[in-house]
């Protein structure tokens, strides 16, 4: 039974298209198509399948339509002109293969005179053969609402007389993108559901691919149709790796690439080549090429980011939209570094279309996180959480947020900066920088301890989460603060000392932005706070060395 229905589902679209064209009315065409299929389900098991099933269905449906119009004169009068048209057309020779008239139907369903939200619904209803409740489920609206929308759209087609025709070659460039947009919007809803319990709705994505396959068969020479089909296949190939067993979100960078559908990728790649050959590339073909580069990469960092950025540059020319600019910025972050990527994100922040766009908020939060700008990252994840659509997207943003709050990373700043050797290298580099600076070097007159570098390294070791290398060895916090105090105002010198510190980090190849930031913050704080007492009388004896961690100064531990 299911098999028979699958056969009829394909046949149904063809039949409907031919009848709609003949009678100019989708309602009548749907009604008699269903009746003809019902008749076939009753008759064929008894009489056997006729030699030309398509022709049989067509003749049966057409006869039922004529009966219906004879019975209902008012209805017939509404369609009068078209009936004349129909009679003028040569009666179809029942022996021939039924001509495929679904292309006309594609253009009618995606007609710009219809409401954008109705085009997808009508396309799914008429060409994918979904029932009205199925279409309602696809768009997450009540069946009654969807039924009303479909009735309204069909009424407009009939009464405003939207024709069932394929636009001429001169109109095609203007009209084809509309049809492709309808199919792609069905796909994107399947790729990332705008709400509901699931991230992906594979049935919808598959319907979109099925529609694109039909369209590709009907318009094999249209590069953008090929490009769209390729794009959807290359993305859909990752479906199994995109969610965890519990339905949670797995981002591209974390996906198990062995779980991708490699035969689908192969099919997509072949189509991309066709789509990009002979003639200027359209936006879907360029996006497909980008998807192919992702699919071909061994892993996320090994992706050909320069090529991806270059393709986004091409895409931005074809489709200068903020969403394309966002994707380009994300690729730039991978090619040129997070800082460069974030700068582009900040430029886009005021785009109205991105302000409430979940992927923008999430990607920005991830960049801030990677750059170690934790308070901003937290705020950005909170924003992403409020904008998330489906439940898994919300859960993903919540997880990220939670990981921000339990902040304590396993590694101390001391360890991340290379342990005792790292501390020593940093202290030495800073010392050299300082001694080379005309102003800051004044701080070292009168002469200081010959082992200043070692003492400084030991002090930092203790301050940044390492072992107790200073207290009890060289002295204690009070002695350090007293040595640095009582020198009056020297803000300018402090700032120069901090600049020397930043340069010193670069000198020893300390490049991780998050680590640089926390070290800089610590040094600047220490320079301006404990090491900057104007009067040594206020410094008590029992001070502990202030401890600094990834999120700043630590409360003194109870002992």
């Amino acid at each position: 039974m299911d098999q028979v229905e699958a056969v009829f589902r394909e046949e149904r679209g063809r039949l409907l298209a031919a009848l709609a064209r003949r009678f100019g009315d989708l309602d009548l065409a749907e009604e008699v198509t269903s009746e003809a299929i019902e008749a076939a389900l009753v008759r064929w098991p008894v009489d056997g399948v006729p030699p030309n099933p398509g022709g049989w269905l067509m003749t049966t449906a057409r006869r039922k339509a004529v009966d219906r119009l004879r019975r209902d004169q008012v209805y017939a009068a509404k369609l009068a002109v078209l009936q004349v048209d129909m009679d003028r057309e040569a009666p179809q020779s029942t022996g021939d293969e039924l001509p495929d008239e679904r292309l006309q139907l594609f253009f009618t369903c995606a007609h710009p005179a219809l409401a954008a939200e109705d085009r997808g619904a009508l396309t799914l209803r008429c060409l994918a053969g979904l029932t009205t409740p199925e279409v309602a489920r696809a768009f997450l609206v009540p069946a009654a609402t969807m039924a009303k929308r479909i009735v309204r759209a069909k009424k407009k087609i009939r009464e405003a007389r939207i024709p069932f025709r394929v636009p001429g070659p001169d109109e095609l460039p203007e009209r084809l993108p509309g049809v492709l947009q309808v199919i792609y919007s069905v796909f994107t809803e399947g790729y990332a559901a705008s709400s509901g319990p699931y991230l992906q709705r594979l049935d919808l994505a598959e319907e979109a691919i099925r529609l694109a396959r039909i369209l590709h068969r009907l318009l094999p020479a249209e590069h953008e149709v090929t490009g769209l089909l390729a794009l959807m296949l290359l993305i859909h190939a990752r479906r199994d790796a995109r969610t965890g067993p519990d339905g949670s979100v797995i981002l591209l960078e974390d996906q198990d690439r062995r779980r991708w559908d490699h035969s689908m990728i192969e099919e997509g790649r072949e189509l991309v080549v066709t789509a990009l050959t002979g003639g200027p590339a359209g936006p879907y073909s360029v996006q497909a090429a980008i998807a192919a580069l992702h699919d071909e990469a061994v892993d996320f960092t090994g992706t050909d980011w320069p090529q991806i950025v270059a393709l986004y540059d091409v895409l931005l020319e074809l489709d200068p939209s903020p969403v394309v600019a966002l994707n380009r910025a994300a690729a730039v972050a991978m090619r040129d570094g997070f800082e460069a990527g974030l700068a582009l994100f900040d430029e886009l922040a005021d785009e109205p279309r991105l302000r409430d766009y979940h992927p923008f908020a999430l990607a920005r939060a991830d960049l801030l996180h990677r750059l170690g700008r934790l308070p901003e990252a937290t705020a950005a994840y909170e924003r992403a959480l409020t904008l998330a659509g489906s439940e898994p997207e919300r859960a993903h943003a919540r997880d990220r947020l939670a990981s921000m709050q339990q902040t304590e990373p396993m590694e101390t700043v001391y360890e991340a900066a290379g342990g005792s050797e790292g501390m020593l290298a940093l202290a030495r580099a800073w010392h050299e920088r300082v001694m080379a600076d005309e102003i800051v070097s004044h701080a070292f007159h009168p002469p200081i301890e010959p082992d200043h570098v070692e003492r400084l390294a030991a002090y930092w070791t203790e301050a940044l989460g390492g072992p107790q290398a200073y207290t009890g060895v060289y002295g204690d916090e009070a002695s350090v603060e007293r040595r640095h105090s009582g020198n009056g105002e020297h803000d300018e010198m402090n700032r120069l000392a901090i600049a020397c510190f930043d340069q010193a980090m670069t000198d020893i190849d300390l490049t991780d932005p998050r680590l640089r930031q926390v070290l800089h913050d610590y040094f600047a704080w220490a320079t301006f706070t404990p090491m900057y007492q104007h009067n040594d009388e206020v410094i008590p004896d029992d001070l502990a060395i202030p401890r600094w961690s990834w999120d700043g100064i630590q409360e003194a531990a109870e002992s």
Partner: protein
């Protein structure tokens, strides 16, 4: 099938003429559409300041008021009724109409058909 094209002027220049289309554009368009044989009726409306509104209340009392004057920038400036095979052809004529340019628009309304009328 008959369609009414409602031509709404967009931005007007200080002389209350639509921006972006010259009288020659209109004459060329009118000649083209008339010669194609699709025009059933066409009128261009006098200046909006000459408009008068009439309303009759339930008790039969007639109210006549000056105006209405446009609250938006779009002002109905003229109409065509054309008889063409389908909406696409009507939309093509609407797109050719100079009134669809310069911030103006043409609204295409199918004329209701009453069977037996």
């Amino acid at each position: 099938m008959k369609y009414l094209l409602l031509i709404n002027a967009g931005e007007l220049d200080p002389e209350n003429a639509p921006v972006g289309c010259e009288p020659e554009d209109w004459m060329r368009f009118d000649k083209e559409i008339t010669e194609s044989g699709v025009v059933v009726a066409s009128e261009s409306l006098a200046d909006l300041v000459t408009a008068t509104r009439v309303q009759v209340a339930n008790d039969g009392k007639r109210t006549v008021t000056d105006g209405p004057f446009a609250e938006t920038r779009e002002v109905l400036g003229g109409i065509y009724v054309i008889d063409v095979p389908d909406l696409d052809v009507a939309l093509d004529w609407a797109a050719k109409c100079p009134g669809s340019r310069g911030g103006g628009s043409v609204v295409v309304r199918p004329v209701a058909e009453f069977p037996g009328a």
